[in-house]
Structure formats: C-alpha cells, structure tokens
C-alpha cells in the first residue's frame, strides 16, 4: 500500500530537485521555475498529510500557497521585465549592484 511516507519522500525528492535548481541556476527566469517546483513539492506533502490524517487544514494551506505563488509570479515577472528592460539580461552574475 502507498502510505504517507511514500508521498512525503516523493515530495522531498521534488523539493530537493527544486533546491538544486535554485542553487545552480543563474538565470532569474529559471530560478522562478525552480521555486515553483519547490512550492509544488510542498503542496504534495500538504495534500498527502491532509489525506492521511483526514484533516482539511493541509488542503487549506495548499490553497493559500497556490494563491501566494500566483501573486509572486505576477509581481516577480513584472520585476523581471523591468530588470530586463534596464539591463538587457537576467543573468544574476551581471546583476550584482548590492555588493557590500
């Protein structure tokens, strides 16, 4: 039988893939994709827990995560476009104006 652990493990693996993406990507757009992956990984975990504990709270959290992801993408992409307009690139290595 598929148990909670299976889902959680899948979720963990997907999360790690997302993390890896976040770490190795230099392109901001690709970074966004990687974060989406991570968010989805978490959603799986929530849904699974919700299911196995027979509790709706997990699903509620997943909803809000989706809502937040949507807003993040909307604002984030807007910023990306402005950045691209300004610098002509989305490569992080070229966008190091915050050097301390």
């Amino acid at each position: 039988m598929i148990g909670l652990s299976h889902y959680l493990i899948v979720s963990a693996l997907i999360f790690s893939i997302g993390l890896m993406g976040v770490l190795r990507r230099r392109n901001l757009l690709m970074l966004f994709f990687a974060t989406e992956v991570m968010l989805n990984a978490v959603n799986i975990a929530f849904a699974a827990i919700s299911h196995y504990y027979n509790d709706l709270t997990g699903q509620m959290f997943a909803f809000f995560i989706i809502a937040i992801a949507a807003s993040e993408v909307a604002v984030g992409l807007g910023i990306l476009i402005v950045l691209y307009k300004k610098h002509g690139t989305l490569d992080l290595d070229d966008l190091a104006s915050m050097k301390g």
Binding site: V10, L19, K85
Partner: protein, 187 residues
C-alpha cells in the same frame, strides 16, 4: 493497486519532468516540462481525494501561472540557449543531495504520534469541494479575503511593472535601453 501504479507512474514522471526543468538550457523546454509536471501533480491530488485542490492546481497553475510565464517569455529571447557559468557544481549537488537524503530519511522514519487530532475533519459522504468550501468560508474567511486582496494587488503591480513602455521592443533594439535610462534620469 491502481493507486499504486498511478502513484509510481506519476512519481517517476514528475521527478523526470522537473529534472528537465532544472537542468535544461532552453527556456522553452524548461517551461514545457514544468507545465507537464504540474499537471501530473494535480494527478497526485486526485489520487489523494483532494479533488478540489487538483482542479485548482490545474486551473491556477497550469492555466494561469504557466500562461503568465509564457507571456512573459515573449519579452525575452526564448530561442537562445541560456548560458550559465556554474562556478561550483559540486556544492550544488552536495547540498541538493544532502537535503534530499536527510529529508527522505526523516520522512521515511515512522511517525509515532497518534495523538494528532483533526482540526477540521473530512466528512464521509460529502464531496471534497463541499467540505473545503465550508471550512474555507467559515474558519479561513479572513485569510481567504486577504489572499484575494493580495492577488488583486499583485495583479495591479504586475500590470504596472510590466506595462511600462510596452510599445518598445527590447530584444531587437538594445539602444532603447539608453533611451529609457535617460528618460528615467529626467524624471
């Protein structure tokens, strides 16, 4: 049995697709595989009986978010391969791998606590959508409204940020950059 097959199938497919997303040099490939992976994740939701969540996943993620990405991509040059110089691939794999191992170890460990009480239990014989609806519009009403407001704000922000100088093409004519900058300075 079907559940098991479906689970493993979906698992393998999502992991593979997301790996493509993360590894691919081409934006288009990455995005397409991301969209496909998200569809498959909604499959997980259906298996888990969270029908409503699955639908939302399809509509919001695959429908809305991915559409946004694809529109956004039109601003950038999607045909070019993205060149990324990876300074320290070993660290990336070490951190990713380590987190994966640790998380898997943690999640694989049996959960002992039986004392977890369902805060908002599901009801037998009632559809998932109904259950969700009742909880969402009673207990989570305020957060829900706040989320709605947040989405509205995000929408406006997105329009304003991206909407400036829509008429200028950025990919072909790089000199426009300077123009924008000078205009900014004038402000």
């Amino acid at each position: 049995m079907y559940e098991m097959v479906a689970f493993y199938l979906f698992s393998v497919l999502t992991i593979g697709l997301f790996l493509i997303t993360v590894m691919s040099k081409n934006v288009l490939y990455a995005m397409t595989s991301l969209a496909a992976g998200m569809v498959l994740i909604s499959g997980f939701f259906f298996i888990l009986g969270a029908d409503f969540l699955g639908v939302v996943q399809l509509i919001a993620y695959v429908g809305a978010i991915m559409a946004l990405y694809s529109f956004a991509m039109m601003f950038f040059d999607a045909t070019r391969d993205i060149k990324e110089k990876n300074t320290n691939p070993a660290l990336v794999f070490l951190l990713g791998g380590l987190s994966a191992v640790v998380l898997v170890l943690m999640f694989a460990a049996p959960i002992h606590s039986d004392a977890i009480q369902a805060l908002y239990p599901m009801h037998e014989g009632v559809g998932n959508a109904q259950d969700v609806g009742i909880v969402l519009f009673t207990k989570y009403l305020v957060p829900f409204e706040v989320a709605a407001l947040m989405l509205l704000v995000a929408m406006i922000a997105g329009i304003i940020l991206a909407g400036k100088k829509m008429d200028q093409s950025l990919t072909e004519d790089m000199s426009a950059d300077d123009e924008i900058l000078t205009q900014k300075d004038e402000k």
